[in-house]
């Protein structure tokens, strides 16, 4: 199937008063039509920043560069603000982690829902309101018409996340980026939100990029998974391949360290020693080397491994993994 999005060698750095912070260091990815790509990583691994860079949602001190971002066959890396506005929230939209802070507390939910419809689709306020109520119904909010005039504080966390999904899918986007949409939610609500996004994806034939730190969530919904660490892609593979046959020591460590609901009680968990690295300079060696249990001085300390193909769609950046 064709790629709807392709990102080549994306790099993002922030210039701060105490020096540069290298958040994303050469991320390449592709997304097919109708596919769900999971991006997994810890805080500071660059997963959110790379998606924000794509939509140019970063503050002014961010320097974004790439060898090309191609959306539906068109370069969108060098377009100006007015052009990206036509894509953002229209063709590519985003659902954020905390609905309570991502939505505006002094505007009604209805206004925030109709904003995109009026801007991108040129609808009249009346039409937009009808459509907004439809959308709220679609995401499973009871008596949608009466909810339009309510404010965010009148909703629960799970309901607000539904509202945000409704806003994101309002213009039938090609790509929905979900940035940890369930992290702040309780587990029963999380299951509902995941189910909702899956349902919407089928209904509107969207492609989805799902960002999370929770491997268990990813296992159930992604087609392919990309593991990020310190702004680099460490491993990328179809979901079953990644869980059954992980190659990178970091992926293996992450998978080993999650307590499983079917696991044994009081069994020692596998741990990755040390702390996530400092990202104020670009490492010249493997960024994971000092925490890696397979650390080999001969290779790992000398240069940074490039992502190499080791199977159909399975890519790993590690010196110690043979073809």
């Amino acid at each position: 199937m064709e790629n709807i999005l392709e990102i080549k060698n994306l790099r993002t750095q922030f210039q701060t008063s105490t020096g540069n912070v290298y958040a994303v260091n050469g991320v390449s990815l592709y997304l097919r039509k109708g596919e769900t790509l999971g991006i997994v990583g810890e805080s500071g691994s660059g997963k959110s920043v790379s998606m924000m860079s794509l939509l140019k949602l970063l503050p002014k001190n961010a320097k974004i560069s790439s060898d090309g971002i191609i959306f539906k066959g068109k370069h969108i890396d060098d377009i100006d603000e007015s052009e990206i506005m036509r894509i953002r929230g229209n063709r590519i939209s985003m659902v954020f982690q905390e609905a309570m802070t991502a939505l505006n507390p002094v505007l009604t939910v209805g206004l925030q829902l109709t904003e995109g419809l009026r801007l991108h689709k040129g609808m009249s306020l009346k039409d937009a309101k009808t459509r907004a109520a439809e959308l709220l119904g679609l995401v499973g909010i009871p008596s949608p018409e009466s909810q339009l005039d309510r404010y965010t504080f009148e909703f629960s966390g799970g309901m607000l996340q539904r509202v945000m999904i409704a806003i994101a899918i309002a213009c039938n986007p090609d790509i929905l980026i979900a940035d940890e949409p369930t992290t702040a939610l309780d587990v029963t609500v999380q299951a509902q939100v995941i189910n909702l996004v899956q349902e919407m994806k089928e209904k509107l034939s969207m492609s989805v990029i799902w960002i999370t730190h929770d491997l268990a969530v990813i296992a159930g919904l992604a087609d392919r998974v990309m593991v990020m660490y310190s702004g680099f892609v460490m491993e990328s593979a179809p979901v079953r391949e990644l869980f059954k046959n992980p190659k990178h020591p970091y992926t293996i460590g992450l998978l080993g360290s999650i307590p499983s609901i079917s696991g044994k009680r009081h069994e020692k968990l596998f741990t990755i020693p040390g702390q996530p690295p400092n990202i104020t300079k670009i490492p010249t060696m493997c960024p994971f080397a000092d925490r890696c249990d397979k650390h080999d001085k001969k290779h790992c300390d000398i240069g940074r491994p490039e992502l190499k193909k080791i199977g159909s769609e399975h890519y790993v950046a590690c010196w110690l993994v043979d073809q």
């Binding site: 587990v187 609500v189 730190h213 268990a216 360290s257 596998f270």
Partner: protein, 334 residues
């Protein structure tokens, strides 16, 4: 004398709702914890689970005697009823119970050095002074896996996992018998969570500490606890051993909770069938009249809306399995 190290009997916490500014009057109560009874055996890990707002943190702070004004019922630690103690007697008991907080960023004073943070409980209870205290703090740092030379550093110089270790060292300073762990890993990165869980496990073995583990993460509970209590809207609705709860959950809410936990295996996709609860959590100021779960339960019957079910031993189950549900009693579903 009961065989429990810590026991709660009919424990409730009711927060008053005030109205008016000058003439403040009580217009109602929020039943944060509603007649809860359970016990912890010495050296075990008891998991208190439930979703946000269900009263698990309030229960634990109530045990630590933080809500004496609003609480009723008995809390027995090693046979002593804490609710009857006052002054110096209570202070002496406080030494035996400590807490580890959820967020290691806000639970450490940014203006105190690590040495002062860990040394504070030692000062407060006049355990040691001067070089003796210094030696104790260094030893504590070593126990939790931090470099003892960090004693003069400030919290901002540490990462999240290291800060949580400082919080653990502070809790250990008084050699407590009971430690309440209030979501100790939910603010940490995935690769760090396992480190902290393993550390807590090691400390328990080394010092035979009893843990009250509060969490909403069902896979963590599965991993670390011996006995589990499930709370919903201030009520304890199910209570049994870890093994029994995961193999034979009985309360409809527990079933829904367990079914919603994502499985970290792509091949588990087909067996993953979450039960979706309708509606949302009722307002705790106006809880439903009968069973607290009756507004969202798929099996609800008339009796559920009238009479509140009590926590009762279920016959023919293992490990003292207790459930508060009318329908389990009558075996309406299996």
């Amino acid at each position: 004398m009961s065989d429990y190290f810590l026991e709660l009997k009919d424990f409730s916490v009711n927060f008053p709702i005030y109205k008016g500014i000058v003439l403040k009057r009580v217009v109602g109560h929020i039943k944060a914890v509603d007649h809860v009874s359970f016990g912890l055996k010495r050296g075990e890990t008891f998991g208190l689970v439930g979703e946000s707002g269900c009263g698990k943190t309030t229960t634990s702070l109530g045990i630590l005697q933080m809500y004496r004004k609003y609480a009723s019922g008995d809390v027995l630690l090693d046979g002593t009823n804490l609710t009857e103690l006052k002054g110096e007697d209570l202070r002496r008991m406080r030494r035996r119970m400590q807490i580890i907080f959820q967020d290691p960023y806000s639970s450490l004073n940014p203006r105190m050095t690590v040495g002062n943070i860990i040394g504070e409980p030692i000062d407060a209870h006049n355990i040691a002074k001067g070089t003796e205290k210094y030696r104790m703090v260094k030893e504590l740092l070593e126990i939790v896996g931090l470099n003892p030379d960090y004693i003069k550093r400030y919290p901002h110089q540490f990462s999240g996992g290291q800060r949580q270790r400082i919080g653990i060292a502070r809790a250990l300073a008084l050699k407590p018998d009971l430690i309440v762990c209030d979501e100790p890993i939910s603010a940490l990165d995935v690769s760090i969570q396992a480190q902290i869980l393993n550390l807590l496990d090691d400390l328990q073995k080394k010092f035979s500490i009893t843990y009250l583990m509060i969490t909403h993460d069902m896979s963590v509970v599965r991993h670390v606890t011996d006995t589990i209590g499930v709370m919903y809207l201030g009520n304890l609705i199910e209570l049994c051993s870890n093994q029994e709860l995961y193999s034979n959950p009985l309360h409809p809410y527990t079933k829904a909770l367990l079914s919603a936990v994502p499985i970290a295996d792509p091949d588990g996709k087909d067996s993953y069938k979450p039960i979706f609860l309708k509606g949302s959590l009722p307002n705790p100021a106006h809880p439903p009249k009968g069973c607290p779960f009756c507004t969202r339960c798929q099996y609800v019957e008339d009796v559920c809306m009238i009479e509140k079910p009590q926590l009762k031993l279920v016959p023919h189950t293992e490990d003292n399995h207790q459930v508060a549900c009318h329908l389990v009693e009558r075996r309406v579903f299996t």
